[in-house]
């Protein structure tokens, strides 16, 4: 079996401007922030980011890497409104495809199943159809004739997710309460890169949790990397909770361009090792 271990720089080196990148996790929970930080530092532009949005979206938007966000919300959970995303929206600096949470799920499911779309009831009657004029409805071909929203497949060039544990072949394990949609992100993408708190051997992966915690199979994965504390400051239970104090500091950095510059210089501009030293 192939050894798929990569470095952060190698993963970012696989990305291109204009790509559609799906990011796992949910809100400010189990986000692959080490990779997000590296993309923020890169010269990539015009990315489309598909995410149940949290600081992944906010940070990449603030760093100027993003043309379009595809999401149902962007929130820091304990801070309900993501201030960087908020600021960018209010300045008209980022495009948005705003979907219902269920529609986003269905779109990933369609892509993961290689279907052009999946029908859903969510969205009917709402302004989601007004603000996304490209969305179409379909009529059931059966006797009920019901009209439903045809959620187009959200096909991704790349998926980035963060797990608690993984092995060198790319099998990934979550040890918290919620898998979120990470396996769907991986299957919806041409290539998937998974970061993890700790790379372990397959025996430790098996003994670390029940079989159903092995959410990501190596057949879904192109590369794997160890990024300890790599979801910081989002939660990565049971390894660590959200760093609420740091999240507040991050949120405050949206107050002005100067505040953002200070935050960036202090935490982001060097590399991941520097970041981890700065926050420890």
């Amino acid at each position: 079996m192939a050894d798929k271990v990569m470095s952060i720089a190698e993963v970012v080196g696989e990305l291109r401007s204009g790509m559609t990148i799906g990011i796992g996790g949910w809100g400010s929970r189990r986000k692959p922030m080490a990779l997000v930080r590296a993309i923020a530092r890169s010269a990539l532009t015009d990315l489309t980011v598909v995410s149940y949005g949290g600081p992944d979206v906010g940070l990449l938007v603030a760093a100027g890497r993003v043309r379009r966000v595809v999401t149902g919300f962007v929130s820091l959970d304990s801070i309900p409104l993501e201030p960087h995303f908020r600021r960018a929206r209010q300045l008209g600096a980022v495009e948005l495809t705003e979907l219902d949470e269920g529609m986003l799920h269905w779109g990933l499911l369609a892509a993961a199943r290689r279907l052009p779309y999946l029908p859903i009831r969510a969205g009917l009657g709402s302004d989601v159809l007004r603000v996304n004029p490209e969305l179409r409805t379909v009529r059931s071909p059966y006797s009920d004739g019901e009209e439903l929203v045809a959620v187009p497949a959200l096909t991704l060039d790349v998926a980035l997710v963060h797990l608690n544990r993984a092995d060198r072949q790319g099998n990934g394990q979550y040890l918290g309460p919620d898998p979120y949609f990470d396996d769907l992100f991986c299957l919806a993408a041409t290539r998937s890169f998974i970061s993890c708190e700790r790379l372990v051997d397959p025996a430790e992966l098996r003994s670390g949790g029940p079989a159903q915690s092995l959410l990501i199979s190596r057949m879904m994965v192109s590369g794997v990397l160890e990024t300890p504390h790599g979801a910081h400051f989002t939660s990565c239970v049971p390894d660590y909770d959200r760093d609420e104090a740091f999240q507040r500091e991050y949120a405050e950095s949206a107050a002005s361009p100067q505040a953002w510059d200070r935050f960036r210089a202090r935490y982001l501009d060097a590399d991941e090792a520097h970041y981890q030293r700065a926050v420890s």
Partner: protein
């Protein structure tokens, strides 16, 4: 028991939203709806299923199930759910906005995004908790229809609208519903100490007013004991109402 505070009246009024719902998921966003769902489940709605706010379901004796986000979205589509959520704006037909204020293309205030509101309102009963009843919230027209109201549901027609129901809107001043001929918002009751005129003045569109507007029921001694001694002994509820 000393007399109920306004927020305790609100908690009981929110709990009433789930009366008669049976064995479904009572989802809630925010402290007051959460306390209300717990109160309902411990009193008149014992069959309700409650989330722990993460991926767990909790019964009287602790964990009783697992419901990660993907399963919550599945339960919403299955319709076995009645959710009480917030609203930054609400109009007379119960259209709700949590997405943004101003033009959608470049909002003056970006809010949460539509979240699950479109799917919730088309799939299962939905109620709203508004901690500050003002004309900023109760507007003639919402800027973005996130959760759909009765005019949108009527325009959709059957069969698409068959699961749509906005049950109650509970505020710091009153309880409202849509039990009127044209499904416009109706004043169902005013909280003790609040006048009908006060509610009308704080609402940015004409409310349907029955000839007699009753007072919102007061919590029972048992309900007050549950709220004060078990559900919220730290008194977090006292910081939840708008001033």
């Amino acid at each position: 028991m000393t007399g109920a505070s306004r927020v305790e009246v609100c908690i009981v009024a929110c709990a009433e939203a789930w009366r008669g719902d049976g064995e479904i998921l009572a989802s809630s966003i925010g402290l007051i709806p959460r306390l209300a769902s717990q109160l309902a489940s411990r009193t008149f709605a014992p069959d309700l299923v409650l989330s722990d706010g993460e991926a767990g379901l909790v019964g009287d004796d602790g964990a009783e199930g697992w419901l990660p986000y993907r399963a919550v979205l599945g339960i919403a589509a299955a319709g076995r759910r009645h959710m009480m959520m917030g609203a930054s704006q609400l109009d007379r037909y119960g259209n709700q906005n949590i997405s943004c204020i101003g033009s959608w293309a470049q909002p003056t205030a970006q809010l949460l995004g539509v979240r699950g509101a479109p799917g919730n309102t088309i799939n299962h009963p939905t109620s709203y908790w508004v901690p500050r009843h003002t004309r900023r919230v109760f507007v003639e027209r919402v800027d973005v229809v996130s959760g759909i109201g009765y005019d949108r549901a009527a325009a959709l027609g059957p069969p698409g609208n068959r699961f749509h129901e906005i049950r109650l809107v509970v505020t710091d001043k009153a309880v409202l519903d849509f039990q009127s001929p044209d499904r416009g918002m109706r004043l169902r009751s005013v909280h003790p100490g609040v006048s009908v005129d006060e509610v009308v003045a704080a609402t940015g569109f004409p409310l349907q007013l029955p000839d007699h507007v009753p007072e919102t029921r007061s919590p029972s001694d048992r309900e007050l004991r549950l709220i004060r001694d078990q559900l919220d002994p730290a008194g977090l509820r006292d910081h939840e109402l708008g001033r």
